[in-house]
């Protein structure tokens, strides 16, 4: 099914070596690509395949797996009413990926949020500052190894009486 998707066929033609995996679940197509080609690929998706709206950029922390992070791009085409998800693996050792701010301006704040809360560094980002936390905050709260109740706090163990 996913192989018949218009975007997947075009991407396979143009970026055959970049595509690591194509998946489909509940009618949604996900393409996993190499992070090195993310900007060229996104540009192609926007300009040639008319995915003009970047809905969301986020990251998932698969702690204990290698590569540890997945950067996720949910994109949408207003003219074609079509949704697609692009994912790029990022390792813990080299926790960077190129910014797609040049393709969609929306990425600016969304990438800042992913940087702030997950610690992914977006290379060439015009203004990569923390957005949710204060500038001097230590750690990235949405990482799986970050304690739920924040740093330096004992987990609540219930009433003692």
């Amino acid at each position: 099914m996913a192989e018949n998707n218009r975007a997947v066929i075009k991407l396979r033609e143009k970026f055959a070596s970049s595509i690591l995996e194509v998946k489909e679940f509940r009618g949604e197509v996900t393409v996993i690509v190499r992070k090195e080609d993310i900007v060229a690929l996104c540009k192609f998706l926007k300009e040639e395949l008319r995915y003009n709206l970047l809905t969301d950029v986020t990251a998932v922390d698969y702690l204990g797996k290698d590569p540890r992070f997945m950067v996720v791009y949910n994109i949408y085409s207003i003219p074609n009413k079509d949704r697609l998800r692009i994912k790029a693996p990022v390792t813990e050792g080299e926790c960077t990926i190129d910014t797609v701010c040049g393709v969609w301006t929306t990425a600016n704040w969304l990438e800042r949020e992913a940087y702030d809360l997950m610690g992914i560094i977006f290379k060439n980002h015009p203004d990569l500052r923390r957005i949710m936390m204060t500038d001097d905050w230590v750690g990235h709260p949405l990482r799986k190894d970050y304690p739920l109740q924040g740093p330096d706090r004992e987990p609540y163990k219930g009433r003692l009486s």
């Binding site: 509940r26 709206l53 809905t55 949910n74 207003i78 998800r85 929306t106 969304l110 936390m133 709260p141």
Partner: protein, 390 residues
């Protein structure tokens, strides 16, 4: 010759027109805005992180608190995402009630928008009127869910309970008054010279830029982009209803105002159609592993009590996979991206908040405007900081 100097001033974070904890650092040349740097926060409740430590049902009350002016739209987006992950269907009656409540929520949210937007620009009467009318919708909220704000009414698989007796009559009664209310607002604002001068040509953003900035919802439609998720990616049976998607032409604050007003009229139309199509039936899917048992079973039988307890405490497991589901919330595209590892809790839940993305465009929209127009731009984006700074 007098030399000019750029002056930097702080607006917010506790300014009434910043709609919450928004702080804007404004660089001014006289009264002309050169640059706006928004600082959001630090309000965060950590809802995404919390949801990773809670079962799917336990996350529903958290979603109420995102956009606290439109709780049921948030509930709807979340439960639809979980239902998509599970691959379950929702009974017809529950879908119709969801549409009724979601559209009432749109009315409720837009009423606060028009109230605050008008107040920001200096029209106090509309503020008082719109809040008065919103009360009637809050009463309906209370009638179905017991709460006026944090409704927590939708469940995975349907609704927490059926609508009470007298609900449809009460909704119809409220709806009958609305066209008159809209006429009042229009009478107070649309022909008001001050309003027109403050809104026409203010905060202009072209269709191309609006898409580039990821603006969605009425703010995007105000820029002339004919796109509405209810029509273009229908959910909860929206394809069955007849409604118009209004779009603007001049991409300014006035167009966004008109778009939202027409949208409110269309919501009334949708609710009427939904009320007409409401038929008796179950309001929860027949999925005993996922849905709570009916309350009378819980109160009157030990099996029902155990069943309820197991779902409340352990939750249900979901298939491994990931889904993204979005709804047309009053502010724009509200999306939930869920990653499941097969356990009873989401491995990762990401909320795509419309206000957060829309707010980013404030820099573009306010550049070159007068400082007083910045207040109008904040109002026209209809932001809720609870949603921006989750």
């Amino acid at each position: 010759m007098a030399s000019t100097e750029i002056m930097t001033i702080n607006m917010g974070p506790q300014h009434p027109s910043t709609h919450g904890v928004l702080r804007l650092i404004v660089e001014l040349d006289g009264e002309i805005i050169q640059k706006v740097t928004p600082h959001i926060g630090y309000l965060h409740r950590g809802i995404e992180k919390l949801s990773e430590h809670r079962t799917y049902h336990q996350t529903i009350p958290l979603t109420d608190r995102l956009d606290y002016l439109a709780p049921m739209s948030n509930n709807l987006g979340y439960v639809l995402a979980v239902e998509k992950l599970l691959g379950i269907d929702v009974p017809e009656r529950a879908q119709v009630i969801r549409v009724i409540m979601a559209e009432l929520t749109r009315l409720k949210s837009h009423l606060v928008w028009i109230a605050c937007h008008a107040l920001d620009i200096g029209a106090m009467t509309v503020f008082l009127y719109a809040f008065r009318e919103r009360e009637n919708i809050m009463d309906i909220y209370e009638m179905v869910s017991g709460a006026r704000m944090t409704s927590n009414f939708f469940r995975v698989g349907g609704l927490s309970k059926d609508i009470p007796e007298g609900f449809t009559a009460a909704v119809r009664e409220v709806l009958d008054t609305f066209p008159g209310h809209f006429d009042t607002y229009e009478g107070l604002l649309t022909k008001n010279t001050i309003w027109l001068q403050r809104t026409i040509g203010n905060g202009v953003i072209s269709a191309e830029d609006a898409i580039d900035y990821g603006i969605t919802g009425p703010a995007l439609r105000g820029s002339g982009v004919d796109w509405d998720l209810r029509r273009d990616n229908p959910y909860s049976g929206y394809e069955k209803y007849d409604f118009k998607v209004p779009v603007g032409e001049n991409c300014d604050t006035f167009d966004r105002y008109k778009v939202r007003l027409v949208e409110m009229r269309e919501s009334v139309k949708i609710i009427r159609q939904a009320l007409d199509s409401l038929k008796p039936g179950p309001v929860l899917a027949d999925e005993p592993q996922i849905c709570y048992p009916p309350k009378e079973n819980v109160y009157n039988s030990i099996e029902g009590l155990i069943h309820h307890f197991k779902i409340a405490s352990e939750g249900f497991s979901t298939p491994e996979g990931e889904v993204y589901q979005s709804v047309e919330a009053p502010k724009g595209e509200l999306g939930y991206y869920l990653v499941s590892d097969g356990s009873t809790k989401p491995y990762r839940m990401r909320i795509r908040p419309p206000s957060f993305v829309n707010l980013q465009a404030i820099e573009k929209m306010a550049k070159g405007a007068m400082i007083a127009d910045l207040v109008a731009v904040i109002g026209t984006l209809d932001i809720v900081l609870g949603e921006i700074d989750r």
